[in-house]
């Protein structure tokens, strides 16, 4: 039986009397790669913020790694890459290594300095995303795609069991998006890290993900990728509220 690392039970969220999330049930198991898709304003980022503990649900319960979110203490088990990472202050005086090492802030413990070992971990994490040679470079000097890889390295440095990403490819040029997703695929397949990825790029990502959840205020579909692929474009268009046509671009690219 798969252990659930995220369990949302009847979660609802309202803001200014309007319902943003309506009775959400979702279970994410160890090593699964979930693509969370849905139109703009469908509540995807709200749901991620609830899972991260940044927002409290109006009703329902959230469990992470079997513990209620309010008593969950092991935040280092979750790596997070935000939508906004690529709009950080590019003039910030920090090297890639310093940024990645900051992912160990919580794990290293309060009042303690980083050790040589922490630096080794940061370099190893940079190696995973293919950015080791950029360690001493200023973060602002890198391209958007390279910066996003660095932020993934920061999320990975604490060796998390779950990686949550909120539209991480925003601001990355299309050429780099495919290689970015290949890297995620490797992380999931080779390192066994569970991934929850919020994305608009349904064609690219649903070919990589093991599971798909389609959200538009409520969950309209959740299940394994092959079941999602069997769905008609018409069904998906109904969930989205506008016409959607899937093109399996990434699959084609990978096969080639």
């Amino acid at each position: 039986m798969t252990n659930h690392i995220i369990q949302l039970d009847d979660v609802s969220f309202s803001y200014d009397h309007s319902i943003v999330l309506d009775h959400i049930h979702l279970e994410v198991g160890e090593g699964e790669f979930w693509a969370l898709i849905g139109p703009n304003g469908s509540g995807k980022s709200t749901l991620i913020n609830i899972i991260l503990g940044l927002l409290k649900p109006s009703s329902g319960s959230v469990e992470l790694f079997g513990s209620d979110i309010n008593s969950f203490k092991h935040r280092e088990r979750i790596g997070y890459v935000s939508q906004k990472s690529n709009s950080f202050n590019s003039g910030f005086p920090a090297t890639v290594l310093e940024v990645v090492r900051s992912g160990l802030t919580r794990k290293s413990g309060l009042f303690r300095s980083f050790s040589k070992k922490d630096e080794q971990k940061a370099l190893k994490s940079l190696g995973i995303v293919g950015m080791e040679s950029f360690a001493r470079q200023n973060i602002g000097e890198l391209s958007g795609g390279q910066q996003q890889r660095v932020f993934i390295a920061r999320a990975l440095v604490g060796e998390p069991d779950l990686l949550i990403m909120d539209e991480p490819t925003v601001g990355i040029d299309q050429q780099n998006v495919a290689s970015f997703y290949s890297m995620l695929n490797e992380l999931n397949r080779d390192h066994g890290i569970a991934i929850v990825l919020v994305t608009h790029e349904i064609d690219l990502v649903t070919d990589l993900a093991t599971h798909v959840a389609c959200l538009n205020r409520s969950i309209h579909f959740h299940g394994i990728q092959s079941d999602y692929k069997k769905m008609d474009d018409e069904d998906i268009s109904n969930w989205y509220g506008h016409p959607v046509r899937r093109v399996h671009q990434f699959e084609t690219e990978v096969d080639q």
Partner: protein
């Protein structure tokens, strides 16, 4: 001049205080600048002005306050102001910067009232506004040392948390860093540094020692640690040169320290420009 420093206690106080604030003001200033809070230091220094003016007024009116060091009042009001700014920032979450002009105006407003009520303070107030070489007492030096120990301990032990909060506040929250508590203490620490620095640099110029050396350092450094080291070097250079000029010309050190740090900034900017041009030429010649 060295023999004068060795002979006169007031000069020892001034130079030791100067060296200490030349270290702690840019050190904390780096975190203030990268968090885009530079104007908060300005607002708090003006609140300190209200405290100093209030204390000087009270010392004229009430015997009890005559013997009390106005620096205590300045520090207390800056700390109070820092907590108020945090409160206001929380109340106006979408217009956080609004807290700064509100508190800054309040500081100047109260300061103006106390200055008017006491019908002028003469050289005392001028010393607090622009700094003074001769007015730093042994008690002031002790205050500066105590504040420096607090500031260095705070940054030493919470460096990781302060870095992640400065670079990416959202990420800090998600990774479980107690942002609210650290931010609150940060504001109080900023108020303390302002309190420590005002005797030397003066209330009106104190924020510049927290920002100008950092502005120069950020042009040079690639890493955060590098920016920290450069900030401190530039801060110390400005204080030492500024104090020496102030001593020989017998003028307020606040002005000379700030003008020196502006000179350092201009030098760094020009140097960077020359280097950029030289690199461009090398690349161009290399291609040709």
């Amino acid at each position: 001049m060295i023999s004068a420093i060795l002979s006169y206690e007031f000069l020892q106080n001034a130079f030791l205080s100067g060296l200490i604030i030349g270290f702690i003001a840019p050190l904390l200033g780096l975190f203030i600048v990268v968090r885009r809070l530079a104007l908060i230091a300005d607002a708090l220094s003006h609140v300190a002005l209200a405290g100093i003016a209030g204390s000087l007024y009270l010392s004229q009116q009430v015997l009890f306050f005559t013997g009390l060091n106005p620096v205590y009042f300045g520090i207390a009001s800056a700390v109070g102001g820092s907590l108020l700014i945090e409160k206001l920032r929380g109340m106006y979450r979408h217009y956080e910067e609004l807290a700064i002009p509100v508190i800054l105006s309040a500081g100047i407003g109260f300061g103006a009232i106390f200055i008017s009520l006491s019908k002028g303070f003469g050289s005392d107030l001028v010393g607090y506004l622009f700094g003074s070489v001769s007015a730093v007492s042994r008690q002031d030096l002790v205050i500066v040392i105590v504040i420096a120990i607090i500031v260095i301990a705070y940054i030493r032990f919470l460096y990781k948390e302060l870095f992640v909060l400065s670079f990416d506040p959202d990420y800090a929250k998600v990774s479980g860093v107690n942002s609210k508590y650290i931010q609150m203490v940060f504001m109080v620490i900023t108020a303390l540094v302002i309190g420590a620095s005002m005797r030397i640099v003066g209330i009106l110029l104190v924020s510049s020692l927290m920002t100008i050396p950092v502005a120069a350092a950020m042009q040079q450094a690639k890493s955060f640690k590098g920016a920290m080291i450069y900030s401190i070097i530039f801060g110390e250079a400005a204080v030492i040169v500024g104090l020496i000029i102030a001593y020989y010309l017998d003028i307020a050190p606040g002005g000379t320290i700030v003008v020196t740090s502006i000179g350092i900034l201009l030098f760094v900017l020009t140097w960077k420009k020359i280097q950029g041009k030289r690199n461009a030429r090398i690349v161009e010649e290399g291609i040709v």
